[in-house]
Structure formats: C-alpha cells, structure tokens
Amino acid sequence: MLPFFQWCYGTWIGETIRESTWLFPLIEAFHLVGLGFTAGTVLMVDLRLLGVGLSRQSAAQLWAAVKPWFLGSVTLMFVTGILLFMSEAIKCYYSFAFWIKMASLLLALVFAFTVRRHVVQTGPASGAWQQGRLTAVASLVLWFGVAWGGRWIGFS
C-alpha cells in the first residue's frame, strides 16, 4: 500500500498544500469545524439513546432531523481530511494514530448505518432501553476514537 501513499504525497495537490504556509492550517480549521457539526449530530442521537437530551422525541425522529447536517459535515470532513492526508501521506503511513483513526472511522460509519440505524428506527417513542444504551456507548466510543486518533496524528 506504500506506493499508493507515495503517489498521494507526490501529487500536485499534496505538494501545493505542503509548500504553502497557510493552506494546511486553514484546511485543518475547516476539518475541526466539520468535526463540531458531526459530533453535534452524533451526540443528539446518542444522548437520546442514553435517555437524556431531547428525550420527548424518538431517536428515529432526531436522526431524521440531524441526518442532512450529519451527511453534510461528514462530506466536509472527508474532503478536508483527504486534502490534509495527501500533503503528509507518507508520515500517515508510518503513524500508528492514523491507522487507529481509519479503523475506528470505518467501524463508526458502518456501525452508524447498520446496527445504530436499525436500533434507532425500531426503538420506543419515549424512554431509554437497554439495546439503545449499549448502541450509544459503542457509537460514542468509536467516534471518540476517531477524534483521538486524529489529534494524535499531529503528535507523531
């Protein structure tokens, strides 16, 4: 897989970002704003699954309401994240935190659109339930793992 990472690093996009003083920090800042929106939408549903937050609405209603914001911000994170990655792809290849982040990101997304979606849509209109609580904890652990890995790419 290393040749692919080297190719990303060598593209004019990677090079342009690497050589600019402002581009990397600026893209990073947009990446953080995307993180805020993604985290907010994830939390609204997971808090509800835990029986707190907006608990008069069903988890399904909340998920439907925040979904456009979730998808929009995840798109923003992907675009900015890929740009950041291209500028330092080789460093990422050798970064443990990067692989942790990619693994938890993949798991978090798959989980969100399989187990979590099913649990959210079949849950009761009010109150918390065991399956909901477990789902929320798993979802939060996965997403916090993504954020943690992201921060630690910068430390390596």
Binding site: G36, G40, L43, M44, L47, V52, L54, W69, W148, R151
Partner: protein
C-alpha cells in the same frame, strides 16, 4: 505587576515547568480539549441551528435550552479547565500569541451574546417557543454560530508561530497587537 510579568512569573512556577516538560500530560490534555470540543462545540452548534430555525423547528427552543444546553455547559467547563492547563504549559508564548488574544476577545463577545440571549431574549420566549423563531432569536443563534466557528479557527492557529514575538522582524502592527518589544538587535 504587568500582565507580561504575571505570565513570566507563571512560566516559572513548578506546575508550568512540569506541564511543559511532560509530553504525555500535554498530549492527554490536548486530547481532552478536542473531545470536549466535540461535546461543547457540537451541541452548541445544534442549539444555534435550532435558534436559526434550520433544524427541528417542531421541538420547542425551551426543550433545547433545558435538555441540551446543560450538556454543552458541562463540556464547556472541561474545555476551560483543559484550555487553562494548556496555557499554563506555555504561558508567555500564549499571552503574546496573536490568535490566542483574538480567541480571548471572541470568547468575551460570545459570552456577551449568550448573556443577551438568556436575559433579554429568552425570557420572552412564550410567543415563539415552538414556532418559527423571530429575528432577534435567529440573530443570537447566527452570531453565536459564527463566533464559535471563529473561536475554533483561532484556537487551531495558536499552534503556528507565524506572528510569534521571537520571530522578528514582524510588521509593527503585529508587534503592537502582541505587545511584543523586540530587542534592538532583532530589527
């Protein structure tokens, strides 16, 4: 004692030296700061989007204020604690950092905006609680959203040393804004 003296003194305290020298502590505090950013900034965004009328219009604003805002406030408290520790690890540089100063000013403005919303706008919510929010409410939400995004931008930029005092020559305006007095040899 000038603020500069204070931050110089702070940087010599044992706490500051220990934090500065411990790589693990600094990284862990940074991570906590990012995690609580997710909780505080994330939920604040949701509240602001509701005030703007851009999401969940059928859920009363009062429900957001009663049930979502406390979680955001809890996140904010941990953010302030972790942020203070981050400053404590590098006091002088933070104090003379252009983006740190910008961030602190924006934080005060965001606080004012929140105060105006809570004590001037929110008490009259009976008329619009579960309805399309009136202009004042949308303005408060929009201003809050823009301010918090700007604060995150500034926060991210603190890490970069483009305008640092020990990197001279800088434009006179930069040195003025960071209260930096470069040594004559640095001109």
């Amino acid at each position: 004692m000038t603020p500069l003296d204070f931050f110089a003194w702070l940087s010599e305290t044992q706490w500051s030296v220990d934090l500065h020298e411990s790589e693990i502590a600094y990284s862990v505090i940074e991570s906590v700061h990012v995690w609580t950013l997710c909780v505080f900034f994330g939920l604040m965004i949701m509240v602001d989007l509701r005030l703007l009328g851009w999401t969940m219009r059928k859920v009363p604003v009062s429900e957001f204020v009663d049930r979502v805002l406390p979680w955001a406030v809890a996140g904010f408290v941990i953010m302030v604690i972790s942020g203070t520790l981050l400053v404590l690890a590098i006091p002088l540089r933070s104090y003379q950092n252009l983006f740190f100063r910008g961030k602190m000013i924006l934080l005060v403005v965001a606080g004012l905006n929140a105060w105006i919303f809570h004590f001037r706008i929110y008490p009259k919510m009976a008329g619009w609680d579960a309805d399309a929010p009136p202009k004042a409410v949308r303005r408060a939400g929009g201003v809050s959203l823009v301010l918090w995004i700007a604060i995150v931008f500034c926060g991210r930029m603190i890490a970069y040393n483009w305008f640092d005092c020990d990197r001279q020559p800088q434009a006179a305006i930069v040195n003025f804004l960071t209260s930096c007095v470069p040594a004559p040899s640095e001109f």
